[in-house]
C-alpha cells in the first residue's frame, strides 16, 4: 500500500498502477446534467395506445361507441352489455392491451369505469416504464454523440428516470457538445403539397435558408431511422459543403418510389421541425443514397452528419445544470490545495512536537502513516479527489491527533495514580477507547449523510473525511500503541512524564 501511495506522490503514471482520479474541479472539465422532456414521448405512447385499442376491439368484434384522447386520458364508450367483458380484458394479467408488470404488481393503465364509460390513464409504473425506456435510448444516443466528438474518458450516468449526468474531463469548452446534445435530430423527408386536405394531414414549416413557409404533407417518406450512414462532403459541382447519406434497403425502395411518382414536386428535408432544404425532384433517386445541401459550413455539415449517424433522441434533452472548470483554474486549485496541506501538516507537527516532545514525535509519526494509509486507500478505492476532498485530508490531519491526545492525557492522569508505567499505559489506552470511538462515530455519521446527499466535489470531501477517520483509528490503536508500548518497555523503570 505504501508503494501505491508513494507512486502517487511522485506522480509516476505507470499504466498498471492505480491512481487517484482527479475531480473535474481539479483537472478541469465539464459537468452537465441533462433532463429528458418526456411529455412528447408520453403523448405519443397514448396516441399509439389509442390505435392499439381500436384495432384490438375491431379484431375481437367489440363495438366502440366512442374512443378519444382527452389530454392524458383515454375515454372509451361502449355498449352496456359489453362492460363486464371489457373490464375483464383490461384486468387480465395476461392482457396484451394492458400489460401487467409483475415486478411492480401493476398494470400499464389504470382503469376507471363509470357506467358505460371507461377512463384509461397511464399508471405510475406505466409512466416509469416509458420514462426508463426512453432514458435508456437517450443514453445510447448521447454516448454515440459524445464518442464521435472524441473527448477523453467521458462518464455518462443515469440519474433517476429522466436525467443523464455527463462528465467530460479535460473539456474546457463544452459548447460543441452542448449544441450537439441540444438537438433531437429528428429527420424526415416529406413532400410539399398544395391542398390542405391531404389524408395524412398537413403542416406549415419554415425553410431555414430563405425563410419561406412551405405546406408539407405529414406523410413521412423516409426518416432518420432509414439512414445507415452520413458524412460531410464537398460538392465539387457548385462548390458547397453537403451531407451525403446512404439509406437502408427499405429506405432506398421507398425513396425511389416516392421520387418516381413525384417528379417536379419539392421534397422537404425536415430536421427538428425546420426545413433544411427543399429541392425539386428532377429524377428518380434509386441508388439508395443522396445528399442534403443547405448552405452548410464544413463544421455544421460535420455536426449534422454526426447527428444523423448517431440517431434521433426519443425526446428533447434540456441542460439543467452545467459546471465547467478551465484547466488552469484546476491546476491553481491543485497547487493551492497541496500548499495548504503541506503548511497545515507542518503546523500541526510542529505544535505536537513542542507540546508533547517524544510522544509528540510518536503522534507525528502516526500521523504520517495515517496520511499514507489515507492516500493509499483512496487510490485503491479509485476515489475521485476533489478540492473539498483535499480540504478533507487537511482536516483529517488536524483532527487525527485528537485520538492520540486523548490517550496521552489519559496516560498522564493514570501515571499520577499508578506507579507501574506499563499498567498506567494500558489503562490509558483502554479507558480512552470508548471516548475515542464515540467521538469519531459522530463525525462518521455526519460524513455518511453528506455522502448520501452531497453531489460532485462535496461527495469527495465526505469520502476523504470518512476514510480519514478510519485510518486515524487504525493508526492510533495499532501503530501509535505499538510505538508507545516499545518506548514504555525500554523505559520501564524510569519515570515517564508526558508534558
Amino acid at each position: 500500500m505504501v508503494m501505491v501511495s508513494s507512486s502517487n506522490f511522485l506522480n509516476l503514471d505507470l499504466d498498471k498502477q492505480k491512481k487517484i482520479k482527479l475531480g473535474l474541479d481539479l483537472q478541469g472539465g465539464s459537468y452537465l446534467l441533462l433532463e429528458l422532456d418526456n411529455e412528447p414521448v408520453i403523448k405519443q405512447k397514448l396516441q399509439s395506445k389509442l390505435l392499439e385499442i381500436k384495432s384490438y376491439f375491431l379484431k375481437n368484434k367489440i363495438k366502440i361507441l366512442s374512443l378519444k384522447l382527452d389530454d392524458k386520458l383515454i375515454k372509451l364508450k361502449v355498449s352496456k352489455s359489453d362492460v363486464e367483458k371489457i373490464k375483464e380484458i383490461f384486468n387480465d394479467k395476461e392482457s396484451t392491451i394492458n400489460p401487467y408488470y409483475f415486478q411492480f404488481k401493476s398494470h400499464q393503465l389504470d382503469v376507471n369505469i363509470n357506467d358505460d364509460i371507461f377512463t384509461l390513464e397511464l399508471s405510475k409504473y406505466g409512466i416509469i416504464q416509458i420514462k426508463n425506456a426512453s432514458l435508456d435510448q437517450a443514453i445510447e444516443i448521447v454516448r454515440k454523440r459524445v464518442d464521435e466528438v472524441g473527448t477523453n474518458e467521458p462518464n455518462i450516468l443515469k440519474r433517476g428516470n429522466d436525467r443523464i449526468l455527463l462528465e467530460l474531463p479535460g473539456l474546457d469548452n463544452p459548447d460543441r457538445i452542448k449544441s450537439l446534445l441540444g438537438k433531437t435530430a429528428n429527420l424526415t423527408f416529406r413532400l410539399e403539397t398544395k391542398s390542405s386536405n391531404e389524408s395524412f394531414g398537413t403542416e406549415k414549416l419554415k425553410l431555414m435558408e430563405t425563410g419561406e413557409n412551405l405546406l408539407l404533407s405529414k406523410r413521412v417518406i423516409i426518416s432518420g431511422e432509414n439512414l445507415v450512414d452520413a458524412s460531410p462532403r464537398m460538392d465539387t459541382l457548385n462548390n458547397q459543403t453537403v451531407v451525403s447519406f446512404t439509406l437502408d434497403r427499405v429506405g432506398s425502395k421507398r425513396f425511389a418510389q416516392a421520387t418516381k411518382r413525384n417528379i417536379g414536386t419539392r421534397l422537404a428535408i425536415v430536421l427538428d421541425g425546420q426545413i433544411i432544404s427543399a429541392p425539386v425532384i428532377r429524377d428518380i433517386i434509386a441508388g439508395g443514397s443522396g445528399q442534403i445541401s443547405g448552405g452548410f459550413t464544413f463544421q455544421s455539415a460535420t455536426d449534422l452528419a454526426l447527428l444523423l449517424r448517431s440517431g434521433a433522441l426519443p425526446a428533447p434533452l434540456n441542460i439543467i445544470e452545467e459546471r465547467t472548470v478551465g484547466p488552469d483554474l484546476g491546476q491553481d486549485s491543485i497547487n493551492a490545495g497541496i500548499l495548504s496541506l503541506i503548511i497545515g501538516f507542518f503546523l500541526v507537527i510542529g505544535f505536537m512536537t513542542l507540546k508533547y516532545r517524544i510522544f509528540g514525535i510518536i503522534a507525528n509519526f502516526t500521523l504520517i502513516i495515517n496520511l499514507i494509509l489515507l492516500i493509499s486507500i483512496l487510490t485503491l478505492l479509485e476515489a475521485t479527489l476533489t478540492l473539498p476532498g483535499i480540504a478533507g485530508i487537511i482536516l483529517t490531519v488536524g483532527m487525527a491527533v485528537d485520538a492520540n491526545v486523548l490517550i496521552f492525557e489519559r496516560i498522564k492522569e493514570e501515571t499520577s495514580k499508578e506507579k507501574n508505567n506499563l499498567i498506567a499505559f494500558d489503562n490509558g489506552y483502554s479507558k480512552s477507547k470508548i471516548t475515542i470511538l464515540d467521538a469519531n462515530i459522530t463525525t462518521i455519521i455526519a460524513a455518511i449523510i453528506l455522502f448520501i446527499f452531497g453531489s460532485g466535489p462535496v461527495k469527495g470531501f465526505s469520502i476523504t473525511l470518512c476514510v480519514g477517520i478510519l485510518t486515524t483509528l487504525f493508526s492510533v490503536f495499532f501503530i501509535a500503541r505499538l510505538l508507545t508500548s516499545i518506548y514504555v518497555k525500554i523505559n520501564k523503570h524510569k519515570e515517564i512524564i508526558i508534558k
Binding site: 459548447d175 452542448k178 449544441s179 441540444g182 434540456n318 441542460i319 439543467i320 445544470e321 452545467e322 459546471r323 465547467t324 472548470v325 488552469d328 483554474l329 491553481d332 486549485s333 493551492a336 490545495g337 500548499l339 495548504s340 496541506l341 503548511i343 497545515g344 503546523l347 500541526v348 505544535f351 505536537m352 478540492l387 473539498p388 480540504a391 487537511i394 482536516l395 490531519v397 488536524g398 483532527m399 485528537d402 491526545v405 486523548l406 492525557e409 470508548i434 471516548t435 464515540d438 467521538a439 469519531n440 462515530i441 459522530t442 463525525t443 462518521i444 455519521i445 455526519a446 460524513a447 449523510i449 453528506l450 452531497g454 453531489s455 460532485g456 466535489p457 470531501f461 465526505s462 473525511l465
Partner: protein, 298 residues
C-alpha cells in the same frame, strides 16, 4: 499540573451571551436572510480572468452591463485579475449562450480575458439542491440525537443537540450578517461542524458520566466543572490543531475554499465553546445525578 478553572461560575453569564447571540442570529436569518449562491438560487456564475496590469472592476462592470444580462453582480475574487460575475438567466437551454457572451464581451472589453469557470444552475436543480442540503443538515442533527440517546441518557442528548443548534445557528447567523455566500460547500462545512461539535461534547460528556459513577458526593454543578478541567488540555490541543489546519486552508487553499474554511473555523470555535458552556449547564439544569447514569446499567 492540575487545572482548576472555575468554568461553572460563568455558566449563567455565558448562557445569557449565547441566547443573545442566537436571537441576534435568528433576527439576521429571518430579516436579512442568507446570501444564496447559484447552487441554491439558480443562475449563472462566471469566473473571469482579465489579463492586464491592474484591471478596473468598473470597466468590467460597464462592459457587462452593456450585454443586457439583467441584474448582474461582479466581485473581485482572490487575486486582482480574477472576478466573479453572477446573474440570473431564465433560458438555460441556449447551448450557444456562453460562446456568444464571450464573443460580445471581447468586443466590449479591450483587455484579453478568459473564462476560468462557468456554472449554470437551473431553477429546478437549485431548489432540489437546497432541499437536499436542508434535509442533510436536519437528518444529521437527528442522527446525532439518536446516537447520543442510545449511548447516553436523554438529558445528555438534549444538551448535546442544544449545543449543536447553537453552533449551527450562530455560524449561519454570522454568514447572514456578513452577507457571505451560502453554497454547496458551506452545507458540507455545516455538517462537519455538526460532527466536530458533537465530538467535542461527547468527550466531555463521557468524562461527566465516568465521574458521576465515581463520585456520589459531588453535585453536578461542580462535577461538570471537574470534568471540563480534566479534559481541558485535550479540548485545547485538538481545537488548536484543527484550527491550524483550517487556517492553513483559509490562507493558502485558494479562493474557492475560503467560505468553506471560514465556516469551519467559526464552527470549531463555537463548538469548543458550546461543549463547555452550553452542554454542561444543561446537565445542571436537568439536575443530572448519579442515579441518572446508574439506572442505565441495571
Amino acid at each position: 499540573m492540575k487545572k482548576d478553572y472555575k468554568f461553572n461560575q460563568y455558566y449563567g453569564s455565558s448562557n445569557v451571551f449565547s441566547i443573545a447571540l442566537i436571537l441576534l442570529s435568528l433576527m439576521f436569518l429571518i430579516f436579512k436572510g442568507l446570501n444564496y449562491g447559484v447552487d441554491f438560487k439558480g443562475g449563472t456564475l462566471i469566473e473571469i480572468r482579465v489579463e492586464s496590469e491592474k484591471p478596473n472592476i468598473e470597466v468590467l462592470r460597464s462592459s457587462f452591463n452593456k450585454l443586457d444580462l439583467g441584474k448582474i453582480s461582479i466581485k473581485n475574487f482572490g487575486s486582482d485579475n480574477d472576478f466573479v460575475v453572477k446573474f440570473k438567466r431564465d433560458e438555460l437551454n441556449d447551448p450557444e449562450f456562453i460562446k456568444n457572451l464571450q464573443k460580445k464581451l471581447s468586443q466590449e472589453l479591450i483587455q484579453d480575458f478568459s473564462f476560468r469557470r462557468v456554472e449554470n444552475v437551473g431553477p429546478k436543480v437549485s431548489s432540489e439542491l437546497l432541499k437536499a442540503g436542508v434535509t442533510a443538515i436536519c437528518l444529521s442533527l437527528m442522527a446525532m440525537l439518536i446516537y447520543i440517546w442510545i449511548r447516553f441518557e436523554w438529558q445528555f442528548s438534549v444538551g448535546a443537540i442544544a449545543a449543536l443548534f447553537h453552533d449551527v445557528i450562530i455560524t449561519l447567523g454570522i454568514f447572514s450578517a456578513l452577507s457571505l455566500e451560502i453554497n454547496l460547500s458551506i452545507v458540507a462545512a455545516v455538517l462537519t461542524i455538526v460532527g466536530y461539535s458533537m465530538n467535542d461534547t461527547v468527550v466531555i460528556y463521557d468524562r461527566v458520566r465516568e465521574n458521576l459513577k465515581k463520585y456520589s458526593d459531588i453535585k453536578i454543578f461542580d462535577l461538570t466543572n471537574l470534568s471540563i478541567n480534566e479534559t481541558l488540555s485535550r479540548t485545547i490541543i485538538t481545537s488548536s490543531t484543527t484550527l491550524l489546519a483550517l487556517v492553513s486552508i483559509f490562507l493558502f487553499g485558494g479562493e474557492i475554499l475560503k467560505g468553506f474554511s471560514l465556516a469551519m473555523i467559526l464552527g470549531v470555535i463555537l463548538g469548543t465553546y458550546s461543549s463547555i458552556f452550553i452542554a454542561n449547564p444543561l446537565l445542571v439544569f436537568f439536575k443530572v445525578s448519579q442515579k441518572t447514569v446508574l439506572k442505565e446499567d441495571n
